[in-house]
């Protein structure tokens, strides 16, 4: 059996998205800035794509800027809000401890420039309480940036309520919706969002293309200077094929969010229940407020990379917050942020499902993880110490 269960890392492009790109690669290749026919055709496509994205997000077309992905959108949103704030002497930014690195590293850069960065606690649930935001906002707050859904543990934040608080207090609110889009309903008007980031390859669109939504009253700062593309706010010849593929995927991914949830949530819950039966394991992040397809567990006594490699041998593609897989020395900052100790965080597993997963595959996932965890524990001196009581367990059985 082959199961791709790493849809939070990237997704398989849909046939529809690929087909939407091809004509712009083969025939309508003109530069949208050109006057002649195939340039103007490309320009029309580009502007209709902008309208279609705006319709999905519920905003105006001119509030949509196409970028090279989620990271660029995050960087530009945060830098822009910081520059706007600094002009009014506002240098306080509120975020959370478990944002994506595209957000956290940009905030670090601003910190070096003299901004004060306040990272809210996300609790053991991986959830922010809107009250925390309310309490943290000050006169000199330039920006609140809080992700819509977390990429590792899949928790979904109370964005609408946070947005309301920011709107009432007149503070710019940005949300990284890279993991949320296509999985839960996102509406920038309803949710009081001022800026929002998307990345196409997370919802069956192409890699290397994304969206920054910014309300029309927000003056963006360029990250990339040059030509006057994207209303002068993002230079570079437009990636028209990529944008067309993204829009096709975006419409497909959002056209039946309720049906998607209805189908996927029972399967996800079955997976959670199955993995929960493995002794000394625990779900990461709140049980309820989570993406329909994302499940993240910690297993005591094993290390994530070996787990992934053995699952790969069984045809299962998954990911882990283990330091070995992150390329850094520490395990996932997300798992540490929800209070997992290092030794447990190393033994984490994220399974992120796609809509076409079957019940049979869920069973296979549960059985396989169980087998591999047992196998690895049997050769783990750490596990031996745990069961022998030499070291204390972190989780209940």
């Amino acid at each position: 059996m082959k199961i791709y269960a790493d849809n939070a890392a990237t997704t398989k492009m849909s046939r529809h998205a690929i087909d939407a790109m091809i004509p712009y690669m083969e025939e309508i290749y003109g530069n949208p800035s050109s006057l002649y026919e195939i340039g103007q055709e490309a320009k029309e496509a580009l502007e209709s794509a902008r309208e279609r994205v705006a319709r999905v997000l519920n905003c105006e077309p001119r509030e949509i800027y196409f970028t090279s992905g989620g990271s660029e959108a995050d960087n530009q949103a945060i830098i822009s809000a910081a520059r706007l704030g600094a002009r009014k002497g506002k240098k306080h930014i509120i975020s959370t401890a478990f944002e994506h690195h595209a957000v956290l590293h940009t905030l670090n850069k601003l910190k070096e420039e003299g901004f004060e960065i306040e990272l809210l606690d996300v609790h053991s649930t991986g959830l922010i309480d809107p009250k925390q935001v309310e309490d943290a906002i000050r006169e000199d707050t330039a920006l609140v940036t809080i992700m819509y859904a977390n990429n590792e543990i899949g928790t979904v934040e109370p964005i609408r309520e946070i947005g309301k608080i920011c709107r009432d207090k007149g503070v710019i609110f940005h949300t990284d919706a890279v993991q949320a889009m296509g999985h839960v309903s996102v509406d920038v008007a309803r949710d009081n969002i001022d800026m929002l980031s998307l990345s196409a390859h997370k919802f069956h669109g192409p890699k290397g293309v994304g969206v920054l939504f910014a309300k029309k009253n927000i003056m963006l700062t360029n990250i990339i200077e040059g030509g006057a593309q994207e209303r002068g706010k993002r230079a570079g010849t437009e990636n028209v094929p990529g944008i067309m593929g993204m829009v096709a995927a975006l419409e497909d991914a959002t056209k039946d969010i309720d049906g998607y949830a209805k189908k996927l949530i029972p399967l996800r819950d079955k997976l959670i229940e199955g993995l929960d039966k493995i002794p000394y394991s625990e779900l990461n992040g709140d049980r309820e407020h989570r993406l329909p397809g994302t499940v993240n567990f910690c297993f005591e006594g094993i290390e994530g990379e070996s787990l992934l490699l053995l699952l790969d041998d069984k045809g299962i593609s998954a990911s882990s917050g283990s330091a070995c897989t992150s390329g850094s020395l520490d395990p996932s900052h997300v798992l540490l942020a929800i209070g997992r100790p290092h030794e447990v965080a190393h033994g984490s597993l994220r399974l992120s499902l796609s809509e076409d997963i079957t019940e049979e595959e869920i069973d296979y996932l549960i059985t396989s993880v169980n087998e591999v965890v047992t196998y690895l524990r049997n050769m783990s001196p750490f596990w031996r110490d745990l069961v022998n009581g030499v070291r204390p367990h972190v989780f209940k059985e």
Partner: protein, 128 residues
Amino acid sequence: MALYSDKVMDHFRNPRNVGVLEDANGIGEVGNPVCGDIMKMYLKINDDEIIEDVKFETFGCGSAIASSSMATELIKGKSVEEALSLTNKAVAEALDGLPAHKMHCSVLAEEAIKSAIDDYNKRKNGEK
């Protein structure tokens, strides 16, 4: 150009000498769970100072398990002296190389062996 060489994957998938040696007379453990790897070596050394048997237990990534497995193979049947001269580079080379950021796994294997022999020496000298 895959993450690991075929040798590493073979030793990871089919680790040699996994388990506990009940009659070990030298046991070493290195690493720590906070860093994500622990290696435990069990040696049975006979009177001629030959390593008659060896087993390991490892908590860690693919290359940690493969390094342990390879290291046990390299010292099994060898003298204590020979085992002491085993370097981490030799372990990595025997595995057809390790990615740069995984070299520390081979270091761990070298250290686990040294630690187990140290334990054996201490027991022999009545320090334990």
